[in-house]
């Protein structure tokens, strides 16, 4: 839909659920307790890879208040959405340190913990492999012994012929890059309550981004139909992908089967959240780029090895998405990408804001800077020379359209914001101030039938209840979608009440809340639901006007005759049917329904080519940083994102997403990585040793968010996605800034102050 003049789309209205959140009224899963509720606690393996030799629960079971102890002996089922490779509780062997080996269900937490301590377990250690490149070696221990290798997926992207391309190159640059495992560390840890009712109905309450995925998977696991499963999601305290797909829900639902009629709750401790849900990222990659003297890229060859951890189900689509988008927003004639999903003995990996894109960006955007330096041309020029232009055929064979956005304008605006080209480096005795930038691109990686749907229900007083199935875990979806609804219905936004909670029993279907799809995909569904409601209003009005609905017009809460606008009625007179003077009523309550289905297909499995991406959003990030020569501490002085996300529905909330994403990206750049001991244990499972950005780190940072608004043809009022994007190229931006001033090239994240200091010393700085 093209942007026309809008009333409420584009306005900064306050977050609709703000008062609940600012007063502590908002209820999250861990705040919910049911009568008769039991508490589950998980005994987790302290071995990275081992056979379970002995597991004795006799003593623990005798503790008063223990209802049941469930172990791997109770089920030999393996579940998964994409690959069925995961047991609820380790069976015979453990594949990562932190894997559940037993679950105690007890009357309260203290009893459960006491029982956990009395469970006797003995392991026979096996060789542990936590490194992805070690894990693909022929002599590596097999994580899943029924398979021939630890590689569970290989994605291929082929365009042109790289051999021919490299022959044409004036310069070939090859580098290797590392992005470690990181943790989402949502401040709300995962929490889930499961209740099996006697009539074989399973009720789940969970801090989840994906209630409909849970329902679908549970139907398969437990052999139920969809009406027998109810998934309810209250407020969610941060997601970032770490609560998408399924996380702790299968475990809780499984153990709750043993205490039918009693709700069982599991809330992860902070330490458990590092090992007991999902981790993010974790790749090692190689990139080989061939360029002409003027910076034109002629060929690129990339290999990415995704360290998926012990189970590959949630990582598999990231292997695809990461490979598919690794080359960034550049038109390159010859492309060859191979990305591999690899099992190792670490907690398993799933979605993390950016979904495969930051991994590719870390390689591609660093590489472009290195190339520019070698060719002695401005890194901006290299990007502008190669970036998508209208009419180009991109790496997966899709044509770049005008409405895909203005990348070049974003580059120019971001560079202007840091005054690129003017005093790019200032060095004093103790400090270096330097600038850098990198482009980014993100597309929603999703199933081909990732549908959204929405229902708008008019009330007799003219207010509207809006339901959809997306979860607002902070992005602002509730607010932005209310604005889209108000715009289409032409009613004040205050008259719309959007359902804050999602319940598969009442909410219309939504695939899941991931991939920055909310505004775009759910927004489209809402526009269509509102239009459906307007049609029904016209139908009811046609009864009153004794004419055909074709002759009725709707505007701003009134219906009138097209050829006689004076003949008009308030919608209140028609939204519940029309009542004639004698009381006889015709027509009925107005409820509008709409859906959105992306128009995409699966890629060709051998080449990755195909119409598999529904929309692209790109832009440019830039930074000014200060490096302390004495301590190696890097302070961001300015962080910039220029993004063409189409029409911005709510600038303030959009800015909040950009700033929040940049700071999350900064964490991965400077501080965050999961550290494993030799036997695979996570050594930094606290905020004290897994540092995330703190208020002190950002106190002196200026933020600039620049929106270039090229309307998206397939988006509601021209809007496109933006929730994840500003995380994508922060690491490359900062590393490029460091390189620009010092010549120090970082290939591995995070760039901690210790590493920075060491490199500065080596350089004699």
């Amino acid at each position: 839909m093209k942007t026309t003049k809008t009333h409420i789309v584009g306005k900064n209205i306050a977050r609709v659920e703000a008062i609940e959140k600012v007063t502590g009224e908002a209820k999250f899963t861990s705040d919910i307790n049911h009568s008769g509720m039991l508490i589950a606690k998980v005994l987790r393996s302290n071995q990275g890879h081992a056979r379970i030799k002995k597991l004795n629960i006799d003593k623990a079971s005798k503790i008063c208040g223990v209802k049941k102890i469930v172990t791997g002996k109770d089920s030999n089922y393996y579940f998964g959405i994409n690959i069925e490779d995961q047991p609820f509780i380790a069976i015979d062997k453990v594949r990562y340190a932190g894997e559940p080996v037993a679950v105690v269900i007890a009357e309260d937490e203290e009893i459960a913990l006491k029982a956990l301590n009395l469970i006797e377990i003995e392991y026979e250690p096996l060789k542990v492999v936590t490194d992805v490149l070690e894990s693909i070696k022929p002599d590596a221990p097999l994580i899943h012994e029924n398979l021939k290798s630890n590689i569970f997926h290989h994605y291929k992207l082929r365009k042109g012929n790289v051999e021919i391309g490299f022959k044409k190159a004036d310069l070939i640059v090859e580098n290797e890059f590392v992005f470690p495992h990181i943790s989402h560390t949502q401040i709300e840890t995962h929490s889930c309550i499961a209740l099996w009712k006697k009539e074989n109905i399973l009720e789940i309450t969970s801090s989840s981004q994906a209630p409909f995925v849970i329902r679908e998977l549970f139907a398969k696991i437990f052999n139920l139909n969809h009406t027998q499963i109810r998934v309810y999601v209250p407020y969610v305290g941060g997601g970032f992908g770490g609560k998408s797909d399924v996380t702790i829900e299968p475990l809780v639902a499984h153990v709750a089967r043993f205490v039918i009629g009693q709700p069982v709750k599991l809330t992860l401790s902070r330490e458990e959240a590092f090992v007991g849900s999902l981790l993010g990222r974790g790749i090692k990659g190689k990139i080989k780029t061939g360029v002409k003297k003027d910076g034109k890229i002629v060929a690129v060859e990339i290999q990415m090895y995704f360290n998926a951890g012990a189970y590959g189900d949630c990582c598999l689509p990231i292997v695809i998405g990461g490979g598919q988008n690794a080359v960034g927003p550049y038109t390159i004639e010859n492309v060859k990408v191979d990305s591999y999903g690899v099992y190792t003995n670490t907690p398993f990996v799933g979605a993390f804001r950016g979904y495969g894109h930051p991994e590719g960006s870390w390689m591609t955007e660093r590489q472009l800077n290195i190339i520019a330096k070698k060719l002695n041309i401005d890194p901006a020029e290299v990007r502008i020379k190669n970036c998508w232009k209208v009419g180009d055929i991109n790496h997966i064979g899709q044509k770049v359209e005008k409405h895909n956005g203005e990348l070049k304008v974003c580059i120019q605006k971001a560079l202007k914001s840091i005054n690129w080209g003017n005093k790019n480096v200032i060095e004093t005795e103790n400090k270096i101030i330097t600038k850098g930038f990198a482009c980014f691109m993100k597309s929603p990686v999703m199933t081909t039938n990732a549908a959204s749907s929405a229902i708008v229900k008019f009330n007799p007083d003219g207010t509207v209840n809006l339901s959809m199935g997306t979860i607002d875990y902070g992005q602002g979806a509730l607010t932005v979608l209310s604005q889209i609804c108000a715009e289409t219905l032409q009613i004040p936004v205050e008259k719309i009440f959007i359902a804050r909670q999602t319940d598969t029993q009442f909410s219309p279907y939504e695939w899941q809340t991931v991939a920055s799809r909310g505004t775009w995909s759910v927004g489209n569904a809402i526009v269509s639901a509102c239009n459906d409601a307007i049609e029904k209003i016209k139908q009811n009005a046609s009864i009153a006007f004794k004419t055909s609905p074709r002759n009725v017009e709707y505007k701003n809460e009134f219906v009138f005759l097209k050829n006689n606008p004076k003949k008009k009625l308030s919608i209140k007179d028609v939204i519940y049917g029309y009542m004639f003077p004698d009381g006889h009523t015709e027509g009925g309550p107005v409820v509008g329904y709409g859906y959105f289905m992306p128009n995409v297909t699966n890629p060709n499995p051998n080449t990755g080519q195909g119409k598999c991406v529904a929309e692209w959003t790109g832009g440019c990030q830039a930074a000014i940083i200060e490096i302390d020569k004495k301590t190696g501490v890097i302070t961001p002085l300015k962080l910039v994102t220029a993004i063409d996300a189409g029409t911005i529905v709510n600038p303030k909330l959009a800015k909040g997403q950009i700033v929040g994403a940049m700071v999350q990206g900064l964490g991965a750049t400077l501080y965050e990585s999961i550290i494993y001991s030799d036997n695979g244990k996570v050594r930094n499972d606290h905020f004290t040793d897994y540092k995330i950005p703190t208020p002190e780190d950002l106190w002196n940072t200026e933020f600039d968010t620049i929106f270039v608004e090229t309307a998206e043809e397939g988006g509601p009022y021209g809007a496109r996605s933006l929730g994840e994007h500003a995380i994508v190229s922060v690491p490359a931006t900062i590393a490029n800034a460091i390189s620009n001033a010092t010549g120090i090239e970082f290939f591995e994240l995070p760039i901690t102050s210790e590493k920075m200091l060491k490199k500065l010393k080596e350089k004699g700085k």
């Binding site: 977050r15 407020y235 305290g237």
Partner: protein
């Protein structure tokens, strides 16, 4: 073994029987059923559990319930039961809330600060925020909300 304690909670005298190892956070959430105070880490590392005890912002996960005996405690629910405070309003206006899980902790830190000094300096604001984690906002709008109230 339970110990009887008595303290003022959000303006009302309350009695509780608590186990000696129960934390004040557990007491507030599980016995007083005030769930606005959040558990983000249980180790004093995130600030989500911040409440005001005798005028000071404290991390209720690090305090034993028995230590509350005889004290005056305010939680997010008791900060201003009828209206929103200036800081709460500023949080809404500045977009300082996303998922909202860290929000009660930040608000309590701020309320304690503004009760002590009406016009805190930037350094005082910075200090009051120390040790509070937010994974969503990037802190900028939270700083802005605090600074806005400090300017009033």
């Amino acid at each position: 073994m339970s110990i009887k304690i008595q303290f003022k909670l959000n303006g009302e005298e309350k009695n509780f029987y608590v186990k000696p190892n129960m934390t004040l956070l557990e007491l507030i959430r599980e016995k007083a059923h005030l769930t606005g105070t959040k558990h983000g880490c249980g180790n004093g590392e995130c600030g989500a559990c911040t409440i005001i005890m005798n005028g000071e912002p404290v991390r209720s996960c690090l305090i034993l319930a028995v230590e509350a005996d005889g004290k005056e405690i305010i939680t997010i629910e008791g900060i201003s039961p009828q209206n929103l405070t200036e800081l709460q309003k500023a949080f809404i206006d500045e977009g300082a809330i996303q998922c909202g899980f860290c929000t009660p902790g930040f608000i309590m830190a701020g309320e304690a600060l503004f009760k002590k000094t009406q016009k805190p300096s930037d350094d005082e604001i910075k200090e009051s925020l120390s040790g509070h984690l937010c994974r969503c906002t990037g802190y900028e709008p939270i700083f802005n909300a605090f600074k806005k109230v400090a300017k009033k």
